[in-house]
């Protein structure tokens, strides 16, 4: 399996990455290099082996249903919003999105 230039452009668009035609070219070669490694892995017989959902063979830890984050007076909000390009009345402002 190998990727085409068109596919790489599409993935870049979905991931909101701005890439130049030269970068698409390089990315395509590098990604196909990775695919060749995957091809090698695919040669291994995995019949009857359950796919792993995670590289670590462990199970998820859970937390109790308790509220431990509090910001009633908006102190933390003010701090976080100082990092945002724009904020107003406690809201983050973004370019208009409407469907």
């Amino acid at each position: 399996m190998s990727l085409t230039i068109l596919e790489v452009e599409r993935i870049a668009r979905l991931a909101r990455l701005e890439v130049t035609p030269a970068e698409v070219e390089i990315s395509c070669q590098q990604l196909n290099g990775i695919f060749s490694l995957i091809e090698a892995l695919k040669a291994v017989d995995t019949a009857g082996i359950e796919p792993m959902a995670h590289a670590q063979d462990a199970c998820l830890r859970l937390r109790a249903d308790e509220v431990i984050y509090r910001d009633e007076d908006g102190t933390a909000r003010a701090l976080f919003q100082s990092l945002a390009p724009e904020a107003e009345n406690g809201l983050y402002l973004v370019p208009k999105v409407i469907e």
């Binding site: 998820l60 859970l62 109790a64 910001d71 809201l91 983050y92």
Partner: protein, 484 residues
């Protein structure tokens, strides 16, 4: 030959009644100031890690048990990738290939009274995921405002099979599901606040044909909108096809103001979510013991309660279904029966479903806000059952109880002198008086006019101020009219 079959499947998002969010310790309380319940995890600040809320898993297990589904021993959280500012990570944590609840079904009652029928709707799955924030589009000088308080709230997305064949069935399913999630205490069901919302997948086909192209109506947050949207959409699809046209699979929005649906996302934007297991979260394992603990904690479920109402109280299937529409209603009914007696269960059912329901509807109240308690209503029904008062006088007593004119039916009956006249001498006198005063009705009755009989009964009851035992009155009247 012009028949079309409508095929509907629903995807329902139930916001789980957890105190904190699904992957962060921020509060889920409704109505807080914008972004004061958005923790660094909900904001997707660099370096944060999600930790799953045990309470959300408990809710999902309970739901799985309530719909007789398989609760997966192992389920996996995945990233659903898409860019939208109300989702700061650029992906939603959801479940895809291995959801926590698999299969299951819900039995629904469709229609009213004798025309009602029961139907089993199969469920495909239910999975845990996080909610997105809210976008506000007004008043920000051409910008959108983002409130992330809702981002990260725990949702259970419940997906049905395309088993519904009409808007009515879809609404019946949505209502049954709504009642169930509240019944088992996993969702408050508040539709105005968005705690329970439906997406409807709608298509039409000729009977026996394979499934037609479907369009998905998004975010329906009332049963009325659900019905109107499906009705409009199916009409539109049928008309389009009958005019020789066609349409593509699409996502549409319902506009309550116009009653119409309109396409929302264009094809270029077609989503490619690129799901993959979230490396921040390990697989979720649920031990059999945990499932059994949740099973033991479940209340008696609607279907079981319905069966019990039919077998223990002799109620019809329809009455039993109506009374188990919510846990509050079922509890109220049973408390009423306890306060009267089991033999009067059918009478209790009528009073709860007819008189109480009408009064609640008129005053726009919930059953929990009823001004007459179940104990009071039970006391009232007991007096009707033992013949102390007639059903008609019972309505008077009910009104008095509702207005707070007495603490119980007995007090009101005594205070207002409503005790039924069962003394046969007294009734005979009333009947004789009525016959003497209404010779016209008497001769009309003898000429074969049955209506004249009712007029005479009315006269007697009026003279008795409604307190005469109606059965005794009619028996005596018939007797007198046939012998005299």
């Amino acid at each position: 030959m012009n028949a079309w079959e409508i095929v509907i499947g629903l995807e329902t998002h139930a916001q789980l009644a957890t105190r904190s969010k699904i992957f962060s310790g921020a509060s889920t309380a409704f109505g807080a100031a914008a972004n004061t319940q958005a923790s660094p995890i909900d904001l997707a600040l660099p370096g944060v890690l999600p930790v799953l809320n045990k309470g959300a898993v408990e809710c999902a297990i309970r739901f799985g048990l309530a719909v007789e589904a398989t609760v997966a021993e192992k389920s996996v959280f995945e990233r659903k990738n898409y860019f939208y500012p109300d989702l700061p990570k650029g992906y939603q944590i959801s479940q895809f290939e291995l959801p926590i609840v698999q299969g299951g079904h819900l039995n629904i009652m469709v229609g009213q009274g004798e025309k009602s029928y029961e139907k089993r709707i199969r469920l495909t799955r239910a999975h845990l995921e996080e909610d997105a924030g809210k976008s506000l589009h007004e008043d920000f000088h051409g910008r959108s405002g983002i409130d992330l308080n809702r981002a990260g709230m725990a949702l259970l997305e419940i997906v049905s099979e395309p088993d519904m064949r009409s808007a009515e069935e879809a609404v019946a399913y949505a209502k049954a599901l709504h009642a169930l999630v509240r019944w088992i205490g996993i969702c408050d069901g508040n539709m105005q606040e968005g705690s329970f919302r439906c997406d409807a997948n709608v298509s039409v086909r000729r009977p026996g044909a394979s499934l037609g192209t479907r369009r998905e109506i998004k975010n329906l947050n009332s049963f009325r909108y659900l019905k109107e949207a499906i009705e409009f959409e199916t009409r539109w699809q049928i008309e389009t096809l009958e005019d020789g046209g066609s349409f593509e699979q699409a996502t549409v929005l319902f506009d309550p103001a116009t009653g119409k649906t309109r396409a929302m996302r264009s094809k270029e934007d077609a989503h490619d979510y690129r799901y993959f297991p979230d490396p921040d979260l390990l697989p979720l394992f649920i031990a059999a013991e945990w499932i059994e603990r949740e099973r033991a904690a479940l209340p008696e479920l609607p279907v079981a309660k319905r069966q019990r109402f039919i077998s223990d109280y002799g109620l019809s299937a329809y009455d039993a279904a109506t009374l188990t529409a919510s846990l509050e209603m079922a509890d109220y009914f049973e408390a009423t029966v306890r306060a009267s007696n089991p033999a009067a269960a059918k009478l209790c059912a009528n009073w709860v479903m007819v008189d109480l329901a009408a009064r609640l509807k008129r005053e726009d109240r919930e059953i929990s806000e009823a001004a007459v308690s179940a104990a009071q209503l039970g006391g009232l029904v007991a007096r009707i059952a033992d013949g102390t008062i007639s059903n008609a006088i019972g309505k008077k007593v009910f009104d008095a109880l509702w207005m707070g004119d007495g603490v119980n039916a007995d007090e009101i009956i005594a205070k207002q002198g409503l005790k039924q006249i069962t003394d046969s001498d007294a009734i005979e006198k009333l009947v004789n008086d009525a016959l003497a005063a209404n010779p016209g009705s008497v001769s009309e009755y003898r000429a074969g006019k049955e209506k004249a009989f009712n007029a005479l009964v009315g006269q007697v009851m009026q003279a008795a101020k409604g307190k005469a035992n109606p059965q005794q009155v009619s028996e005596l009247l018939r007797q007198k009219l046939s012998t005299n």
